[in-house]
């Protein structure tokens, strides 16, 4: 099939990114103010293009590098949809278009949005990649822009430190992935995933599959994808990076690489299981262990923190763990329909997590920090203290987001966890039932820090003295810059918050809507039957 038809969403995003790069050459504030509009339009266009994409069957280009399946279409749609919210979060609101309250682009507004679009493009490429180089390049395309976004997001040393940590460890993980890919290519002699599956499906006495080398390849690639997911034991960077980056960027990097990594991981295990999920038992056990460790370590680390962004970083690790619970279920269950359930649950949770994430980070963006600095909004519990009384709507949304992240009923997160645990419990597999129990215990532990956020927001602290601090700090903090005052209102961010809050509530309360989203997610499981061919 003609490749152009397959990648209309990607092409839309790329064209917009190119346009934004060109716009970056201009120095007029007007151009900068125009940049997010272009980005948003591109996102909307790409979303429409992706949504009207065909949902069943597999469409491939002539070279076999891309295979658009139901799963690809779903992942593309949710990533572009949530990506549009990231555009809203990063919307520059200062008059010169160089910053909003928590992010500072300096003069590179257009470049920032171009990078965001490219990262989303990378995610789309990962979603439809069908050959090892495409997968690799897709992952890199989803990651490299985020390294730059982290580093450029704030004129603080913190951001650059976060950037260098993220980038260097990312390069390390890329090297691991490449080593794994080289062995995978070596043992099968094929680059295309569907061909690899063919090779692995051949009878054992035919051309061999390299025994342990295949396992080595799978493990190395898996580790690299787990790095993107920030799963234990490759989670170490997450706290530092999320804390250092500007809040809108944190929101983006807690979603984009994660979804890309998860998608790649599902593909990898599908390929390694020769398209029938016939995985080595030890590998299945490994996925189980990593899922448990990831959610536990994430939740446990989140308890003793001072910085809310860091808390959310650890929470995102825990949520990777929940996604991995779905993956563990997927690889453990035997019945195809349960497999479908598990994959649909993962797909649903990705979307739910993205939306909840935007809500909490959006609220953090709108609340001022006690000690103001350019491109710094609320980050610590102190900053949040009593904010709910001053900004009731934001307080309520934050509570909603946190409840959803815990998984309290009447929120999207509840159904996310419900769908995740359902196939695990239904399978009757002891390991999976234990997994479900551990997930619930973890949800209880996570309540410890989420509720702390909510409590902080609604504590009786009146925030006295904030104004005074702000006045004295004003001169030193703002002398360098072009920062907009922290009281500025941001309609796009409010819109993003409202959209995500509405999403959380709607998915949590209106059962038919939840069902519809779940069915959309379940459509992605058609891929399981079709295979990547």
């Amino acid at each position: 099939m003609n490749v152009t038809q397959l990648i209309i969403p990607e092409l839309t995003l790329l064209a917009a990114a190119a346009l934004l790069f060109l716009m970056g050459g201009s120095n007029a504030p007007k151009t900068r103010l125009l940049a997010p509009v272009v980005a948003l339009l591109a996102m909307v266009g790409a979303l429409v293009a992706s949504l009207i994409g065909q949902r069943t069957g597999v469409r491939m280009d002539d070279t076999g590098s891309l295979a658009v399946t139901a799963l690809s279409v779903y992942i593309k749609s949710i990533s572009i949809g949530v990506g549009a919210l990231f555009v809203l979060l990063a919307w520059p609101t200062s008059r010169d278009g160089a910053s909003n309250r928590s992010i500072s682009f300096s003069t590179e507004t257009s470049e920032y949005f171009a990078l965001l679009l490219l990262a989303i493009t990378g995610m789309c490429v990962v979603a439809s990649a069908n050959s090892l180089p495409t997968l690799f390049l897709g992952i890199e395309l989803a990651s490299i822009p985020t390294y730059i976004m982290v580093t450029m997001s704030r004129p603080h040393q913190q951001a650059q430190e976060a950037g260098v940590k993220y980038f260097f460890l990312g390069a390390l993980s890329a090297a691991m992935m490449l080593l794994g890919m080289s062995y995978l290519f070596g043992v099968t002699g094929e680059m295309r995933l569907d061909h690899i599956i063919d090779v692995l499906r051949r009878p054992a006495d035919g051309p061999g599959i390299g025994g342990s080398l295949l396992m080595l390849a799978v493990l190395l690639m898996m580790m690299s994808f787990l790095f993107k997911l920030a799963a234990v034991p490759l989670h170490f960077y997450a706290g530092d990076v999320y804390q250092g980056a500007a809040t809108p960027v944190t929101a983006a990097i807690s979603f984009i690489p994660k979804i890309a990594g998860m998608t790649a991981l599902i593909k990898l295990l599908y390929v390694a299981g020769a398209g029938t999920w016939a995985l080595d038992p030890k590998l299945m056990k490994l996925v189980w262990i990593i899922a448990v460790l990831t959610m536990t370590v994430g939740n446990v680390l989140g308890l003793l923190q001072y910085n809310v962004k860091r808390v959310l970083a650890y929470s995102s690790i825990a949520h990777s763990g929940y996604l991995l619970v779905g993956l563990a279920t997927l690889v453990h269950v035997k019945a195809p329909e349960q497999r479908g359930d598990a994959l649909a649950a993962i797909a649903f949770y990705m979307l739910a997590y993205g939306v909840m994430n935007v809500a909490v980070f959006g609220v953090l963006m709108l609340l001022p920090a006690k000690v103001p600095a350019p491109a710094r909004t609320a980050e610590t519990y102190d900053d949040l203290a009593g904010a709910g009384w001053r900004h009731p709507v934001l307080g309520v949304v934050m509570a909603l987001g946190c409840f959803s992240l815990i998984g309290i009923p009447a929120t999207a997160g509840f159904f996310g966890k419900l769908y995740l645990l359902k196939p695990a419990i239904q399978s009757g597999n002891t390991a999976l039932v234990w997994l479900a129990v551990l997930t619930m215990i973890n949800a209880a532990i996570s309540a410890g820090y989420y509720l702390k956020i909510v409590t902080a927001m609604w504590s009786k602290s009146d925030g006295a003295g904030t104004e005074a601090i702000r006045d004295t700090a004003h001169d030193s903090a703002y002398d360098l810059g072009h920062q907009a005052p922290a009281t500025e209102r941001s309609v796009p961010v409010l819109a993003a918050i409202a959209l995500s809050a509405a999403g959380i509530l709607a998915a949590g309360i209106v059962f038919p809507l939840t069902g519809a989203i779940y069915r959309a997610a379940a459509s992605a499981t058609a891929w399981l039957a079709d295979g990547p061919r």
């Binding site: 390390l172 490449l178 080289s182 290519f185």
Partner: protein
């Protein structure tokens, strides 16, 4: 398929690639100079490139070489970015010691 490259030859090249990867990894872990660290990550990529070329020759396929081109492209891209970030960091603290940057922790 023409058997121009045997298992034995393949294994030799693979061992060289693996050792180079491991040496690069050691350097990445213990050299504190950020520039050298990234140099070491390039070393790891070299090891992988040897693997790819060897496997490509083993299977008689050009795709191994093609992949190495992409690796080179990514290596170049990452190097450019890494050096930019290092310059940026150097401007703040006048050092490229990775240990100096630990404001974020916990």
């Amino acid at each position: 398929m023409p058997d121009v490259f045997t298992n034995i030859a393949l294994q030799h090249y693979l061992i060289v690639g693996a050792l180079m990867f491991a040496i690069g990894m050691i350097g990445f872990m213990c050299r504190r100079n950020l520039i050298v660290m990234f140099l070491c990550s390039e070393l790891m990529l070299q090891g992988v490139a040897i693997n790819f070329i060897a496997f490509g020759a083993f299977w008689g396929k050009l795709s191994g070489q093609a992949f190495v081109i992409f690796i080179l492209a990514i290596a170049a891209a990452e190097a450019a970015l890494a050096l930019a970030i290092i310059v940026l960091l150097f401007r703040q603290k006048h050092t490229v010691d990775s240990q100096a940057f630990r404001e974020l922790r916990g």
